[in-house]
Amino acid sequence: MRIFDPHIHMTSRTTDDYVRMAAAGVRAVVEPAFWIGQPRTNPGSFADYFDALVGWEPYRASQFGVRHHATIALNPKEANDPRCTAVLDLVPRYLLKENVVAVGEIGYDAITPAEDAAFTAQLAMAVDAGLPVLVHTPHREKDRGLRRSLDVVAESGIDEGLVVIDHLNEVTVRAVRDTGCWAGFSIYPQTKMSPDRMVALLREYGTERVLVNSAADWGTSDPLLTRRTAEAMLAAGFSAEDVDTVFWRNPVTFYGQSGKLDLTVEPAPAATFAGSSIARGGS
């Protein structure tokens, strides 16, 4: 089984996770830029974070045979801090980078005017760069945030096929299905979706234009829930072909629209010894 996790924050995960993910069939990931628990207070913090997403993290992933791509954006929560507004000036140059396959995560957190401004500006950047967009839907007031997100997406003029609306559930999926946008689902141990609920939604809505991710980060989450959901699909009577559609072909199709998705497996760097994890350099 080959798995492409289209949304996972590997920066917050350990090398043990990479080992377990690779063993479970995860061959490719996309890491969206997001908040990191502790609010950042200046653009420099974001520049270093974005640099890690186009530098260190893909290298780290490659040690375990996992292809790593990123999405770049000022996230909605931190868009509310005026000290971080200048991050918007940094975003376009990162969108040119080789492994950046989308703009994201953008969207709403508390649905404020500052979030409106950042969302609209970054949708325009995506149109300019010819890149897909990853839209986060809020934890609170999800339905209102979703409807407003769909309106803003429509107003931007971006091709809906370039947009994934993420973190959907039974309540919010219908509104996205009525558009041309892709539907994203995050499978979490307790909150968001569970593997069995995801399987029920795949039964109801089919496997087209669907992305299923672990969204694993620094909170309670599990990078193997993609694999668990794939197994739940098989147990429920879906074919191996269906599983491959959801967990490989769909993310390849969606992010492939960037023209920058490269799934060539590079030979392990000469510096890595068989069986070792990340080498730790002198201090």
Binding site: V54, G55, R93, K97, E98, K260, A271, A279, G281, G282
Partner: protein, 175 residues
Amino acid sequence: MTPDEWLPAAQAGIRQDPTAAARLLAEAPRRLGRASAAARVTLLTALAELPDGPAHVAGVYWTGDSGERLAVLAALPSVPQAVAVPLLEDALRSNDARLVAAALGPAATALDQGTWRQGVLKCVFLGIPLAGVHDLDRRADPELIAMLGGLAAERDAAGRALPADAAALLTETRQ
């Protein structure tokens, strides 16, 4: 524009406006695929020859992803040492074996001996082949050998060996 046309057009674009280099270097992989690594070095070498070119080369490094930084490190012999040294030192501080190895290529002649020795030792630590270290035979000095000897003793105590190339260097120079 075909890939064959892109590189000459990009060179002309950089000659006309050096600030265009950042965008052109970033988009090279999308235009050229696997050939982009060598093309980037070509563009950076041409950029370095322009007035203020070395500063633009340094700018590409500081705003670059890993691929762009590797290309800058390969092009550094074309820029003055004062510009090259901070970039080499930054690459040596990284934990990316590709950047560390690239910093010890031909441009490493700009590094002072102490920094260079630490770089070589870091290669041994990270398992980077010493064959890629520029001018190793001439530049290896008793202090480097003493440092390698110390690492060998630590590895020995832990029941681990030095990489074969480092062990060979230690043996040859101690004879």
